[in-house]
Symmetry: C2
Subunit: 111 residues, 2 copies
Amino acid sequence: MEDSSLCPRFEKAVGIISQRWNALIIYQLLSGPQRNHEIKDAIGISGRLLSERLKDLEAEDIIHREVYAETPVRIEYSLTDKGHSLKPLMKDIKAWADEWIDIPTHKQCKS
Amino acid sequence: MEDSSLCPRFEKAVGIISQRWNALIIYQLLSGPQRNHEIKDAIGISGRLLSERLKDLEAEDIIHREVYAETPVRIEYSLTDKGHSLKPLMKDIKAWADEWIDIPTHKQCKS
DNA sequence: ATAATTAGTTACATAAAGTAACTTGTTGAG
DNA sequence: CTCAACAAGTTACTTTATGTAACTAATTAT
């Protein structure tokens, strides 16, 4: 297996965006820099996977890790330019979800 | 774990789009109705997973399965309206990939 | 009958994700 | 100083998803 005729850039982009949790992490960071435990609580990911994904996304230059030598140490994650450039995509997903996904017991959420 | 404060519709949409292979299958079907083996060859998925994903996507009303009683039988998969409505999203991913993903040995692919 | 074709399934190996306990580094209370 | 508290991250282990290849079913041409 593993030999497609697709555009390799497109395949790579899909690989990043559709890696589990990545889209939710990026979406969450759209609302501003956040710490490990804030992201964790917001999207419901485990500590193990969050650390792994944050490292991956940092390696892709999509997020930035900043260490503040306070007490206790504060580590903040934020989107890079490359990360921010995914905002239209995230908004499209949100818009599509609002139009096409029906969840009986839930009203539409704010944009 | 598993208790986020995110919009449930958004979470569900992300779940569908970021399920492995789904985005590639949908993207592939944007160029028209196709048969099982055509999709398989185009994106490099295994038969087992392709069948599974096609069933999932049909259950989500994103693709349509049409049986033509020819010889041998021909089964075509196509996008529903809901499926077609994902086109802007796919184009966003393509555009983002073209702008931000660099793969040294590959030139930009056609849109 | 038999081989060929296509969609789909079964059985099993490998890889990724989920869970929870543990480590590290730091600080402030006692 | 010693110990509890806290945040980030890691380790060890279980469960689930994916990869691979052989197999089944339905159909038709030879």
